[in-house]
Amino acid sequence: MMERVALELQRTAMKRRDQVDDFDKFGRSAFNRYYYAVFLIVRDLMLEFNSRWAGSHSSIPEMLRGTVRGEISRFRSAANKRGNSEQSEAANRAIAAIHSLATLMEEANRLRVTADYNPAIRVEDQGGERFALVSTNITEAHQWPSNATLYVALIQRALRLARGTI
């Protein structure tokens, strides 16, 4: 849902590219909403990981690389000991996905902070259907939510295998 809001903002920005202020405000808001879409996707994972999770936005990448990765690593070690290669493969995929997801969260958050708190840094028109904020293209931001969904699914599946909660 939130990615649809973002896409509408992205389209409105394109439609109003001749009105510089409108273009800038709709454009940067699109970055903000794409970040928020990612946050909502990742929040579900964090809540499944720990139902009492109430961490801040900026603590998510650290927690992914810390406690979430830790639990999956322990599962992988145990799987290796039992010689269950299917399980350790699932854990390997999840660990790679954790790394990618943490990096994606950091990037998206950085763009959100730029969009929200740095009004002097403007959205740049790049022609065609493209515009950018500090050289990150809106088409990249558009892919954040679906990429996050893919990573979250890989992490979730390993976590559920580890916990028997599938």
Binding site: E71, A90, A97, V113, V134, L150, R163, I166
Partner: protein, 242 residues
């Protein structure tokens, strides 16, 4: 001293120039993002090196500035985009979506597909990625096929049966669907169950309910603590098997 002056001074000490105006991050005390252009030498090493970037962060930390980087890596972006496009073009019937991300000179590729990818196809995809990254100074790469994206694996099926046993194929199907898995048909599911039964992983009881064998339990393993699969099983039983 202004935060931006502090950053400029420390950057100058390390002979580094920011690629644009600093990005203030008021969500963190003393937080700032430093935009930097990244290049690579002929061996694919990053310039400025990660070590230099870490030194700058440490120096700034001592002055109360929490700095992170906004790295602008044009080459990496072009490689990522090109690779993504080439994959979808080369394997139009196999790959629904390719996700490419690179960091520190190593590339990660995720293939998402609605079909099952056999090992020969996976090898062809991997080869394609390898040939592509060899053109650039990419130091390492990894291809993950998120294959059978929505189909439950045998492992996932056994794990679910462990928790819900004794369970029939109808309940199993609806539980899988509730967990957003694809179940092509009951025939497909029964075929899976049959294969697992022949492999000695599940038993079928008189009333066509399934349970896991000691062999399967052994393979699944368990762990201690709050998140143990045994706890998940006990909670299921405590709820009266619902």
């Amino acid at each position: 001293m202004e935060l931006s002056d502090t950053v400029d001074e420390v950057l100058a000490r390390h002979h580094i120039t920011a690629a644009g105006p600093l990005i203030m991050n008021p969500t963190v005390d003393g937080g700032v993002y430093i935009p930097l252009s990244i290049r690579r030498d002929s061996e694919g090493r990053q310039i400025p090196a990660s070590r230099v970037l870490a030194d700058i962060q440490r120096d700034l930390q001592e002055l109360g500035v929490v700095a992170e980087y906004h790295l602008v890596d044009e080459t990496a972006r072009v490689i990522d985009e090109g690779l993504r496009e080439s994959l979808v073009e080369r394997f139009p019937n196999l790959i629904d979506k390719a996700v490419v991300s690179s960091e520190g000179g190593s590339v990660q590729v995720w293939i998402d597909t609605s079909h099952e990818v056999d090992s020969a196809q996976a090898a062809t995809i991997k080869e394609h990625v390898q040939r592509y990254v060899e053109l650039f100074n990419v130091r390492s790469f990894k291809v993950g096929v998120a294959s059978e994206a929505k189909l439950p694996s045998n492992l996932e099926l056994i794990s679910l049966i462990r928790r819900l046993s004794p369970v029939d194929c109808y309940t199993l199907q609806s539980e899988l669907l509730a967990r957003k898995f694809d179940v092509p048909s009951l025939t497909w599911l029964n075929h899976k169950l049959d294969t697992m039964r022949k492999a000695g992983l599940v038993v079928r009881m008189e009333n066509r309910h399934y349970a896991v064998t000691p062999e399967a339990l052994q393979r699944l393993g368990t762990s201690k603590g709050r998140n143990s699969p045994d706890v998940a099983r006990l909670l299921f039983l405590a709820r009266g098997g619902k």
